[in-house]
């Protein structure tokens, strides 16, 4: 029974819960059993609260028995990246700085999940403070790719992607600042959606780069992603950057919206640096849409291709240097035992509490905001950002969506790029510009390399057109079976 529940799409589990064929407690216990069986090797979890989750599962079953089930998510466990606050649960950001921090409040997405009856379960590993593309920057050790345990799952939401890919959880939430949902989803062979900036509240998401961060779903299928997005999207008065707009029924839109679509293929996203097998798989996906009657246009995004990574690493690090200033050892978090005065508390606690990549980005961000450098770096990067946004807007006037690889390469070996930060940064080359432009992007499985590593197709949509983007992704998914393939662990 329990094994039957592993790798099941969330929508099917929801149907089984609704039909009374399984209980929420049974489902959670299946997830727990799977996690116990494989997570020693995958290491997707930083921690989980079994008793608390079981209590919520029992409440869900009681609600359902009383005819008061709250909807499709009621009783479904949802894993949370360890950067999203859950009241009474650790919030480590995979950092020594917050190793012992317990959040006293719920993030808005957490509160929404609870309200929908979902069971927030587990604190999922990540690159420290979401800074990285491989989950190797975690203070608690790397997560492994379930398809090849010697390889990275991508990052920074590596734990969120690996937990789904390994069958430990049907649904997880990650956060995406420059590709941190889409790239690990691609490398782990699952679906990952970064919503339009402002669609999902950031309240309770420990900030990396405020103007780029978005929370989004990771799941086995497009329908599952639609299901989870519907539960977390919507305006939040606690987040000034959250957009005031209604939330459509994304799941209903999957069937309602049909092509043919006008699709753009950015020339520059298929150039140097793209793995041949990845490129081939993505071109085949493009061909699929053409055969479905879609109009395929080659488009050009020269600024995004040339300057997005540079602009991103100026803007994101500048914001991060300020956002992470609060981790000072004064009110909470790691405080150096060697500290003797206030300056000591700052310097020693931060020296001990942050890992090398976080320090690198804080130093870079501090520098670009410094008096005398602000105009040349930060201000210019913001101007470039505006140009990139305009470039996407122009292309999306004539195209419903854009197609590209999610990552230029499949999952790389643990340690392979650790010594070369720039090579690591370039793995986000196709995703970063989407964050700069604030657009929605989704990665769906579109094949495997000869070595059996998953390949992801990125679909980029118009602002707040998640419904259209999901329907477009679903059109591909329903004609392919990549999402039904699972790693053997």
């Amino acid at each position: 029974m329990a094994d039957d529940l592993i790798f099941q799409p969330a929508a099917r589990l929801a149907a089984q819960l609704a039909a009374g064929k399984i209980s929420a407690v049974e489902l959670l216990q299946a997830c727990l059993a799977r996690t116990r069986a494989v997570d020693g090797r995958v290491k997707a979890f930083n921690s989980f609260d079994e008793a608390g989750a079981l209590a919520l599962a029992r409440q869900s079953d009681e609600r359902r028995a009383a005819g008061q089930a709250r909807g499709p998510l009621d009783g479904l466990p949802v894993g949370l990246k360890d950067v999203i606050a859950v009241e009474g649960q650790p919030l480590t950001c995979s950092s020594k700085m917050l190793a012992n921090f317990v959040s006293p409040y719920d993030a808005t997405v957490t509160a929404k999940l609870k309200a929908a009856g979902a069971i927030p379960f587990g604190r999922l590993n990540m690159d420290e403070f979401a800074m990285g593309s491989s989950t190797e920057n975690s203070a608690f050790g790397p997560t492994a790719n379930p398809w090849d345990l010697t390889r990275v799952p991508g990052g920074s939401s590596g734990g969120s992607a690996a937990a789904v890919a390994a069958g430990e959880l049907p649904l997880t939430l990650g956060s995406d600042t420059g590709g941190s949902i889409r790239q690990p989803a691609a490398l782990c062979g699952i679906v990952g959606l970064k919503p339009t900036y402002g669609l999902v509240s950031r309240y309770g998401l420990a900030a990396f780069a405020s103007s780029l961060d978005q929370i989004g779903p990771l799941a086995h299928t497009v329908e599952d992603a639609a299901l989870l997005l519907g539960a977390i999207a919507g305006h939040d008065p606690r987040d000034s950057t959250s957009f005031k707009a209604g939330v459509p029924d994304y799941r209903a839109a999957l069937a309602a919206r049909k092509g043919p679509w006008r699709l753009g293929v950015p020339r520059e996203f298929f150039g140097a640096g793209l793995d041949l097998e990845v490129g081939a798989a993505v071109r085949q996906a493009v061909e699929f849409y053409r055969q479905q009657g879609c109009e395929i246009r080659e488009v050009s995004l020269p600024l995004a291709a040339e300057y997005a990574v540079a602009a991103y690493y100026l803007i994101a690090t500048a914001e991060a240097s300020s956002n992470l200033a609060r981790y000072d050892g004064i009110r909470y978090g790691h405080r150096s035992a060697a500290a003797k005065d206030a300056i000591d508390i700052y310097t020693k606690s931060r020296a001990e509490g942050f890992g090398p990549e976080v320090k690198r980005r804080i130093i870079l961000g501090t520098h670009v905001l410094s008096s005398g450098y602000y105009d040349a770096y930060y201000l210019r990067a913001q101007k470039v950002r505006t140009l990139i946004r305009n470039e996407f807007a122009a292309v999306l006037r004539d195209c419903d969506a854009l197609l590209s690889p999610t990552s230029p390469v499949p999952a790389f070996r643990l340690g392979e790029k650790s010594a070369d930060p720039l090579a690591m940064y370039l793995t986000d080359i196709y995703t970063i510009s989407v964050n700069l432009a604030g657009l929605p992007g989704i990665s769906i499985p579109c094949g495997f390399t000869g070595a059996g590593l998953p390949v992801g197709l990125q679909l980029i949509g118009r602002p707040f057109d998640e419904a259209g983007l999901l329907a477009l992704a679903r059109a591909y998914e329903s004609a392919h079976d990549w999402h039904t393939k699972h790693p053997i662990l």
Binding site: I84, A85, L91, S240, T241, S322, R331, I345
Partner: protein, 468 residues
């Protein structure tokens, strides 16, 4: 300013906090519109230009009282620019109006306050109750010429802010704080000298004393052949001394940049109009109006105009009685005196609040009416006022109850005068021999016998007739 936690003073440490105030991971600021309303109102009161779009910047620096280690502030686009504060300098005497000047403002911006540190022998404690409360920073042009002007400026500014309902401006509670930038230059020189910033000026008097001290200190340095270093100094108001805190070289690089957590706020004309409708008349404008409209002297207006409630009280009483000067006299003198005395009895430092007074504008108007119509004399009216203040009864009721109506009965008056002449033969004789002043003794005796009820003019006439 960016959270929904209550602001307060004197609450237990770290109780007025939430995830936003404490800068917990994931917390986000959301603008409290009331804070912006108030700074816009302050700007309108002071005649500032209001920016059409209000933006927010982060001011980055590490300090243990700053939970985020950055403050949300406004850097190069403050919400208010320009404007001025009208001040009155000390006059030649207390009851003579001093010269007026307008002190131009550079800008007003809004930022969040920080917490409070308490330093012990071996540790320091942080109280975040005050952190995140809205703070308005008002910067003047270098236009104040000394300690007295600074004192007058802060007094006028405080009155404007209190009357506008912006803040209670209680310096003890940290609701009004002041840093003074001070420089000296040779007479006739137009270029400003090197400035020194003086901090820790905890009362308006300390501001005045601190500035006077700093001017003396700088003068001594320069006349001694030295030069002034640009620095920040801490003033000790009790000791009247100052000490260097940090030099220009140690100045922070605040790394200002637009706060990505907050959206710019558009301030449109409808919003401004709604706030403008709540802006009260400026104090000195009111003073000038009272002079023109009611012919009130400075001695009265200088008491009334600093207190908005007193002005409202006065204007209501004046409208009821039609005798503004008489009404103003009662309010500025007798009512103020009784309120202060009642405050002293209740051991309230600020006196008893006008709002709690049993004497209302109608009481004053009624009393003035009785005096004007000759029903009671001025001296009886003083007595009636005290009774009104104690009981809240109207003047006419008190006069009737106590039988204080002024007597104009010629027979009764003649009897009183005759008795007084008989009882004071010496004074009568002196008056008859030409000593006018001796009449006062006779009149005094009549007043005493009549318990003040005798009409003084009639008594005067009858006494002259009887002794003629």
């Amino acid at each position: 300013m960016f959270t929904r936690v209550a602001a307060g003073y004197g609450e237990p440490e770290n109780t007025l906090t939430d995830p936003v105030v404490l800068a917990l991971p994931g917390a986000l600021p959301v603008l409290n519109k009331e804070a912006l309303d108030k700074v816009i109102k302050a700007g309108l009161i002071l005649g500032c230009a209001i920016a059409p779009v209000c933006t927010w910047d982060r001011k980055n620096y590490f300090y243990p009282d700053s939970p985020k280690n950055y403050q949300i502030s406004q850097y190069d686009q403050p919400i208010c620019t320009g404007g001025a504060v009208e001040i009155e300098l000390p006059g030649p005497a207390r009851n003579v109006m001093g010269a007026h000047r307008r002190i131009p403002l550079t800008r007003i911006h809004l930022e969040e306050d920080v917490g409070k540190l308490t330093h012990g022998a071996t540790d320091s404690l942080v109280d975040c109750n005050r952190a995140g409360t809205p703070l308005m920073e008002i910067v003047t042009e270098p236009a104040l010429h000394g300690a007295d002007e600074a004192f007058a400026f802060l007094t006028a500014l405080r009155t404007a802010m209190v009357q506008g309902g912006i803040s209670d401006c209680d310096m003890e509670k940290g609701q009004l704080r002041c840093d003074a930038n001070i420089s000296i230059r040779p007479a006739g020189e137009t270029k400003l000298g090197t400035k020194v910033e003086l901090k820790n000026l905890n009362s308006i008097s300390f501001v005045r004393d601190g500035i006077a001290h700093e001017i003396r200190r700088q003068t001594a340095v320069v006349t001694g052949g030295g030069s002034i270093a640009q620095e920040t100094r801490q003033y000790d108001g009790e000791a009247g001394t100052s000490a260097a805190m940090r030099s220009k070289e140690m100045a922070h690089d605040y790394r200002y940049f637009p706060d990505p957590d907050l959206m710019p706020v558009r301030v449109d004309e409808a919003w401004l109009a709604a706030i403008r409708a709540t802006v009260p008349e400026r104090m000195f404008d009111r003073q000038r109006r009272y002079l023109e409209q009611y012919r009130l002297p400075y001695t009265l207006t200088s008491v009334l105009v600093p207190q908005l409630a007193l002005c409202a009280f006065f204007e209501e009483a004046a409208a009821l009685s039609g005798k503004p000067q008489a009404v103003a006299n009662w309010i500025a003198n007798d009512l103020q005196r009784e309120l202060a005395a009642a405050g002293a009895r209740a051991q309230a430092a600020a006196g008893v609040d006008l709002a709690a007074s049993k004497v209302r504008p109608a009481h004053i108007a009624g009393l003035v009416g009785l005096v004007e119509s000759g029903v009671i004399s001025s001296s009886i009216a003083k007595e009636v006022f005290v009774e009104m203040f104690a009981t809240g009864d109207q003047a006419d009721a008190i006069v009737e109850r106590k039988g204080l109506r002024q007597s104009t009965d010629a027979g009764e008056l003649e009897r009183w005068v005759a008795e007084a002449i008989a009882a004071n033969p010496k004074a009568a004789a002196e008056f008859r021999s030409g000593n006018e002043k001796a009449l006062n003794a006779i009149k005094g005796a009549v007043m005493k016998a009549s318990q003040g009820r005798a009409n003084p003019q009639q008594v005067d006439a009858i006494a002259r007739k009887l002794m003629g």
